[in-house]
Each structure stands twice: as structure tokens, then as C-alpha cells.
Symmetry: C2
Subunit: 561 residues, 2 copies
């Protein structure tokens, strides 16, 4: 259903629970759900979304906090399911509005959040919880259940109020051979299922993928063979939060008698945290500095760095561009041990081509099993549906296509389609007397972070950027004495991104036409600068279209002398 067909929600009925997804439904990222019961709010996750090409220059996109802006005092807690940016990244922005919100999460999740908060000069109120722990925050009973995902220490949460019980899986998969032995708590899911789950909010990211995600352990023999064949250095790029993948690389390095070094700020910081907390095990003497690693023979060295998504400023891209102290050559092996996030294909492709041209062998998920996804695919989702036996289902975390695919998976195990609520950001679901219904649409938008401004960047400015980025601009400036009705100086014409040489041939022609139009307008008694500017714009627009068949932004300026 389109938003324009959904009315605003009615006031929440006494005794009912409202679930309002603010982010993460209809998109991959900025996950955030608000639970509203008896005048109290509980927030699950508060992440950021990374912009795509239609949002140029944007640093981050936040969930739109406006639906809860007037009710911040009623927020009992923020529950964090795990430490990925798309689940914790917007917390500092919410804390700016109310710094003392209690935050609950697992040890690693809170450690990653704390490092982030420190960068924002915030000291949040953190409450560490363990697998299986239950806490009461206001009217919400919250139980934490272990799940596996592409970061350690992830959790699902069961939220119980008098209105019923909701199980929110967070992001999860059901790897039966996780590296840390911490399996997804299917026993807990089963117990909750037997007790009764009224609404299951369940990760949709991989719902389109049939079958089962291979185990993390299936990567090991592939990495082993890569290390065995490598004659020179092994350079591995991965996500700076993928502790288990990094552990695998370290284990391989030890096995093949190599030393490792971390390169890249976020990689160094996160691996330091993970090691301190016991999530990463590095045998004594294995970890060296990048400088010390450079002194070792190539066949003794493993570099672990950022840049697996082709980010232009990350270590790997700079190596591929020959713009980094570390250079690679024909004997080196580069492993991209990560997924390829949609939209990054060209950037990653550039990195692979650059490294290949320098002679390196590049191993990536396109040619070897060096990454497995962290999200449950259809086969795994079916296990969860059958264990939990939910009365109602609300697919979460995914674009519309993923939510719809997850709904089809639910239906495939016999769940009545009328009990599957496919909704996106802003569409709330009310749970009352064990029935869940769509209750309305609350407008939520994109909140852009750009430099130090948060939420000030408008869609109009983004549209301007898109035009400027495609065609550049031409500005035309005239100094006018409006009282005397004369053009005092100019018109002068300037361009950026249009093509200086392209413009220069016609400068006299177009400035002459603009001067004529201006003088005519002034003679006609036009004295509104805005009106004069419109006339200048029209003259330039017609000229540029006729002579160059292009549509740059045209910026007319009348300066009053």
C-alpha cells in the first residue's frame, strides 16, 4: 500500500501496544523501532543509513525522530541488538536530545557504542545484559536471546507487556557451527513459541535467498588454500566489525607462520576493543605494527585492512591507486573477505582492476567462498517460523522486495497471509488482545547529516546538487542602478562544470543578449530585481539550449549599485 492511502493512526487504545518502525523497513539500514505502551516508550536499535548516489554529499542518514520528539521524557530505554552502525550509529544523535536515556545491550555492543559516544563527547548510561537475561524497564519486560550474525554478541529481544508478547529477532542467522560456539538460541525461541508469541518481527534481508547460508567454518578451507598458495604478502580487507572473519584470518596467519598487522583507523580501534573484551584471540607475538610488518619477508606478512567496499579513502583503494605507503606487486595476494553492498559494485570493481593491474592475485566472493552472509536465508527463516509459531508476523529490516519475500516464506510454512503485516517506515502496528492490525501512517522523512549540520539539508538542496553534479552551472551577474534604470557593470558570465572553453566562444553573444534584455526591461520600468533575474535566466537558458543542447543550472544575480 502507498503511504498516501493510509490514514494517520488514531490515539492508542488503553491496554494496547503500538509498534512504530521509524527506520529499516523499506530500506537496508537506520534500523529503529519504537514500542509505545501505557504512556511509555521503548526503542529497539537506533542506526544510520549510508546514502546512495541520489543523495550526493550526504554523510549519513538518520531515522526521523520527529514522531517521538515531544515524548523523549517517556523513553524508558534504548535496546541495542548488536554493534553494527545501522543499529547503533544514530544513538549519539538521539542522546543529544536526551543524554540520560538508559541503554541496554551486550558487552561488545556497548563497547562499540561507547567508543562511538566518546567521539561525540557523550557518556551514555549503559546497562550490560547477558544472553538469557530478563530486565524490566517501565512496563516492558525485556528478555535477551543469543543470535548469531556477522558480529559477535548479537541478540534478539522478546518484549512483553500486558498487550502481549513481541519477539524481535534483530539481525540474525542460524549458523549451526559458529566460530565461537554461541548458537542462535533456538531453545529460547521454542520456549517463547510454546508460551505464545503474538507478533514476530523478523529479519528479511536474505528472505529472497533460498536454502541455507553456508557456515562461517566453510570459509576456513578456502582461506587455507589461499594462504598455502600465497608466495608474497596476504592482504585481507574486511568489515572492521567482523570480528569472527578477522579471527579466521589470524588463525590462518598463525597456521602459516605469518605475522599480522592491522591497518586503518576503524580496524585498529575495533580489533583493540574486541581483543580487550576477549572476543578476539591473538597469540602472543603474532600482532606487529605495520612498520614492523614491512621489515619482514613478504611471505611472513598478513595485512588486515579496511576498504572492502571500495571506499575511496580507505586503505585498500589507496593501495590500488598507488597512493599508500603499502604497495602491492605480482607476488601479493589480496583477499576481499566481505560481502559487496549494492551500489558499491563500480567502486569495488575499480579496486579489483587496479590491484590486478599491479599484478596482485585478487580473491573475492565472486571467485571463492571467502565470505558468507550474516542474515538468515529462507530455509533458516522457516525454522524460526515453525519454532516460534507466531500469531502475527511483521517482516523487518529490508527493502520492500525483501519484506514481501519474507512474507512469502511465512506463508509457505502455513501462516495465514492475513496475519502477515507487510509495512514500511512510519506505518504502525497495534497489538491488542492478541490481535495485531495496521493502525496508520505517521510521516517520517530522511534526516541528513552533512558536515556539522543535522537535518538542515533539504530535498531542494539535494536536487540542486544533482543538477549541478550533472551539468554544472552558469552564473550571470549584472550591477544595476534600478533608480536610474541603467546597467552599471556587467553582465559578466561565469561557469563551473559546464566547460570554460565551451562557454568562452559564446561569451560576447550571450552577455550582449542579456544586456539588451536588461536594458529593455529597465526601459519598460521593471524595478523588481527578482523579475530582472528571471529575464536574465530565460535569455541564458534559451541561448545555452540552442547552442549547446544542455541544461546547466543558471544562476542570475542582480547586484543593486
Amino acid at each position: 500500500m502507498q503511504h498516501d492511502e493510509i490514514p494517520s493512526p488514531a490515539p492508542l487504545k488503553a491496554g494496547a501496544l503500538r509498534v512504530l518502525p521509524i527506520g529499516g523497513l523499506g530500506e537496508i539500514g537506520r534500523n529503529m523501532a519504537v514500542f509505545d505502551f501505557d504512556g511509555s516508550l521503548l526503542i529497539v536499535d537506533c542506526g544510520v543509513l549510508f546514502p546512495e548516489e541520489s543523495q550526493p554529499g550526504v554523510d549519513l542518514i538518520l531515522p526521523d525522530f520527529s514522531p517521538i520528539a515531544e515524548r523523549l521524557a517517556e523513553v524508558e530505554a534504548i535496546i541495542l541488538t548488536h554493534g553494527h552502525e545501522d543499529h547503533i550509529g544514530a544513538v549519539p544523535y538521539l542522546l543529544r536530545m536526551r543524554p540520560d536515556v538508559p541503554i541496554y545491550g551486550s558487552r561488545l555492543t556497548l563497547a562499540f557504542l561507547k567508543a562511538k559516544a566518546t567521539e561525540h563527547r557523550l557518556s551514555p548510561d549503559l546497562h550490560e545484559v547477558s544472553d538469557g537475561e530478563q530486565v524490566q524497564v517501565g512496563p516492558f519486560g525485556v528478555e535477551f536471546l543469543a543470535v548469531n550474525h556477522s558480529i559477535p554478541d548479537a541478540m534478539a529481544v522478546a518484549i512483553t507487556t500486558d498487550a502481549g508478547r513481541v519477539l524481535h529477532t534483530g539481525d540474525f542467522k542460524v549458523d549451526q557451527l559458529p566460530l565461537d560456539g554461541r548458537v542462535t538460541d533456538l531453545n529460547g525461541f521454542a520456549r517463547l513459541g510454546d508460551e505464545g508469541v503474538d507478533l514476530l518481527m523478523i529479519d528479511s534481508t536474505n528472505a529472497e535467498v533460498p536454502g541455507f547460508i553456508p557456515s562461517e567454518r566453510d570459509i576456513m578451507p578456502v582461506l587455507d588454500s589461499v594462504f598455502a598458495k600465497a608466495r608474497g604478502r596476504v592482504i585481507v580487507a574486511s568489515f572492521a566489525s567482523h570480528v569472527h572473519r578477522i579471527q579466521q584470518i589470524i588463525d590462518m596467519a598463525v597456521e602459516h607462520r605469518r605475522k599480522i598487522a592491522f591497518v586503518g583507523r576503524s580496524m585498529v580501534r575495533n580489533m583493540h576493543i574486541a581483543r580487550d573484551l576477549g572476543f578476539l584471540s591473538i597469540p602472543e607475538g603474532t600482532l606487529v605494527s605495520a612498520d614492523d610488518l614491512a621489515d619482514l619477508p613478504d611471505d611472513k606478512a598478513v595485512l588486515i585492512c579496511t576498504g572492502s567496499q571500495g571506499e575511496p579513502m580507505a586503505v585498500l583503494s589507496r593501495i590500488a591507486n598507488r597512493d599508500h605507503a603499502i604497495s602491492v606487486g605480482p607476488s601479493d595476494t589480496v583477499v576481499l573477505a566481505s560481502s559487496l553492498i549494492p551500489g558499491n559494485e563500480n567502486a569495488v570493481n575499480r579496486v579489483i582492476n587496479g590491484l590486478t593491474k599491479l599484478g596482485a592475485s585478487v580473491v573475492h566472493k565472486g571467485n571463492a567462498l571467502v565470505h558468507v552472509s550474516g542474515h538468515a536465508s529462507a530455509g533458516e527463516l522457516r525454522f524460526v517460523y515453525n519454532l516460534v509459531k507466531p500469531r502475527f508476523v511483521m517482516p523487518v529490516h529490508g527493502e520492500w522486495r525483501h519484506l514481501v519475500a519474507n512474507a512469502a516464506v511465512a506463508q509457505s510454512v502455513g501462516i495465514d497471509p492475513r496475519r502477515i503485516l507487510v509495512v514500511d517506515d512510519g506505518v504502525s502496528v497495534d497489538l491488542d488482545e492478541q490481535r495485531a492490525v495496521i493502525s496508520g501512517y505517521t510521516p517520517v522523512g530522511f534526516v541528513y547529516v552533512d558536515g556539522s549540520s543535522i537535518g538542515d539539508l533539504t530535498e531542494a538542496s539535494l536536487k540542486d546538487r544533482r543538477v549541478l553534479g550533472e551539468e554544472g552551472f552558469i552564473s550571470i551577474i549584472a550591477v544595476v542602478d534600478i533608480v536610474a534604470g541603467t546597467v552599471v557593470a556587467g553582465p559578466e558570465i561565469h561557469e563551473r562544470g559546464f566547460g570554460e572553453e565551451v562557454l568562452s566562444e559564446g561569451v560576447d553573444d550571450v552577455t550582449g543578449k542579456v544586456r539588451e534584455a536588461l536594458e529593455q526591461a529597465l526601459a519598460d520600468g521593471i524595478d523588481d530585481p527578482h523579475d530582472l533575474q528571471q529575464r536574465m535566466r530565460r535569455v541564458v537558458g534559451r541561448w545555452v539550449n540552442a547552442t549547446h543542447r544542455r541544461r546547466p543550472m543558471i544562476v542570475p544575480v542582480v547586484v543593486e549599485a
Copy 2:
């Protein structure tokens, strides 16, 4: 090897053949190779490249004709291997420089070229050739061999001079069950191999893909099942040149008693050409207009349209955006019967999400075998290597990673790696006495078409566009009487894409600072407007960085009163 390590080529030795790839090596697109022998030139293909996001606003990219610009009179002919844009699209631009170059190609290839040339108001000198035909153009003996590809009537060419024989595959695959029964002429390849091929130039696009591309016919049962399940309309988007895929759709429509309509300018034009020439068979009464189709019951209608790459102005994107006369709903089935060209992932994803949200079922290569590639994968390449037994190999048509992968395939069948020449655009190979060697690097660049300007757009303007597109601009304008040393009017500040509201709070602050700096400079006797502008730029730059942590383009303008 990097270009900066390769010297310019020495003058061509008498009796030797020089092969200079101008486009298509190190990139996917704008394929063009120049053969230089005894003072005569022969060109194989002359295509365009479509820009990627780092080339904003560019319409097309042409091969850089500068290496042959002084020798156009010596061009004996252009040989076209097939009718795709990346093989014929730049021909009109070459013809503007010399309109009477003879052009050789197959019937469909020349028909597509002619339609294109007509749009450019050109009447090229066309010479139709058939499978197996041999022609002599100047000192070049040229033999044409049938190949299959994702467009009918594609050809490989064998070029024989006194220096030796080169076989150029063009784009090809080795489908043993092609829809039109026209198999790749492996007999011809075998005969040439037995006679001796000195240099094999061979399509690398799919060299990274192991095994064999499924046959075009393998798509039929999948389409059959899609049509059998479809309750409402079937809307198929594909490439407007993929005549065989469109034929399959038409056959399915007939089988399932549906009528078809073509929508989209290029689709209508090309299918008209293909039908006229006998490459497309549409039973009488099957093809109707889009308007007539709208009057039929939904389960009798098939729409064939453009937009399979998510192009924003193409029919399918507009349908997904509810911005087209054709609307889709829950009973409709949309099939994206095409590949997904790298870089288009986000755009296609948007279309799939939009259609899914409107309720349509979307079938695409990610969830069904509705497309197979037109390029030979590694298994097929091995057949060709073993049949042709080339003395030397030059992988063509692909990014560096694909060229390297193709070299590895050649090596896997026993070709000496010293006889495999991996080169990219501008790096020439000389064939002399049956030996091929890299002879040097001739600088070639990107030639951008933007509106009506060809080649005028510089890298500097593109860089400006990237900055403008990311952060917008701030312009600051002051009218100055340099002789009197006074600021007559302004400074005025304007922005686009930076954020009007963001800027407005600080307008007085920054314009005050700029005025101060200007007055100080004028008092110090600075009278160079450029110098004054630099000072304005610095003040604004420091201010915007300090207050907003951003780096918009800053455009200072001093108007002399």
C-alpha cells in the same frame, strides 16, 4: 604494466602490421581497433562507452580518434562485427571527420547503423557482407565468420596481410542451440587454425566465468512457466537490440494466446527493422498497438518495453514510479529479461522495489533463468583456443581483470604465457615475421559527448561537477571600484546545493568578514581582481569549514564598477 612505463612506439617497420586498440581494452565498451599496414588503415568496430558515476552528466564516451586524426585519408574501411552500440555507436562521429569511409558489416548490423546514421543526417557508404564472405580492402584480406552473440548476425573477422593473419572474434559465444540455428562458425575457426593464425584477438568479457553459458533455449521453459502462472498482464523489459530474446517472448505470447505491443522508442524502431529484414517473426494479428493492447483483457496482453537497466526515463522505471500511462497492479507479472550491467544495481533495485510495492510479481535473473549472457565463458574460450591454435594471443574487450582472466584461460590450454599479450587501450602490438610484440604506448584519452559538444568537456570540468554534486557551491560577489579603492556594492552571498537555511544564519557574519578583508586588501593597494577574489575565497572557505565542517565549491567574483 602501467602506461608511464611504456615508451612511444617506434615507426612501423616495413612489412609489419601494427594493431592499435583505441577502445574496449581495459574497459567494457567503445570497442575499436586500428590495423596499420603498408600505409593503410583498417578499423574494426567503432563503439561508444556509457559513462559511470565518476563521469557525471556525460552522455556518451567516444574512442579517442587522435592517433588516426592525421591519417583519415588512409582508412580503407571500417569493419563492424555486430550492431551493438559499443561497436557501432561512434561511427557517426568518425564519419563527421570523413563521411565516405566504406563500412562493411552484416545485414542487421548495417541496418542498425543506417538508422543511427540517419538520426545524425549522414548517408554512409555501406557494404553488406555475408557469413563466410571474403573481401579485399587495400592491403587487407578480410574474411567474415558467423558467431553467435546477444544480437543476431554477429561476425568474427580474419584479417590477412603479408605480415600474417589476425583473427578477431568480436563479441561472441558458442551456443550449440542458438534460436536461429546459426552456430558460431567453428569449422571456419578450425580451418583458419590449420592454415595458421598468428594473432588471436579474443573476447574477454566472461573469461572469469567458469564453464559454459547456458543455451538461449534453456530460457524457454522458464518463460513458459512464467506465462502459465501469470494471471494478469505480462510486461517484459529487455535490451532493444536483443532480437532473439524478444522472439522468445513473442513465441510465448503466441503459445499462451496473448497479443503483444512494443513500447519505447528504441524498442519499436529496432523491432521494426528486425522484422522487415526477417530476423524477427511475428505471426499476423499478434502485434497490436499499445492503445489496442490496453483494451484487451489483462490475461491476453504482453507488453515488451525498454528499461531493464533501471534507466530513469525508460518505460519500466516510469511505470514503477507511477509516472506512465501504463499502470501495474497485483495481478501483473514483470519480467526483466536482461543482464544487469554493473553500476545499474541501485537503479534496477529501485524499479524492482517500486513494482513490488505496486503488487506486481517481478521475475529477474536473480530469481529465475530469464537471461543468459552473450559472451563466451572460460569453457567456450578453451574450445576456440584449441581450434585456432594461435601463435600469439591478445585478449580484447574487457576490463583489466577480464583480460588477465582470459590470459589465464589461454595459459590453461598450454599457450606459452610469453605469447599472451595483455595490453589495454593505446598499447600497440606489432606483428612481423609471425612474431607479435608490444611496440609502445600511444596516449589515448576519453572523449566526452555532452549535449552538442564533443570532446570539449575536460577532466577539470568533470572534477568541478563532482565537487558541485557533492557539496554545492557558495558564491560571493563584490562590486569594487579598484581605482578609488572602495567596495561599491556587496559582498553578496548566494548558494545552491549547500543549503539556503544553513547559510542564512551566518550571512551577515561571513559577508562582514569578506568586506573587511576586501577593504584591507584595497587599503594595502591590491588592485588585481584575481588576487582580491583569492582573498574572498579564503575568508569564505575558512568560515564555512569552521562553522559547517563542509567543503562546498567557493566561487568569488569581483565585478569592477
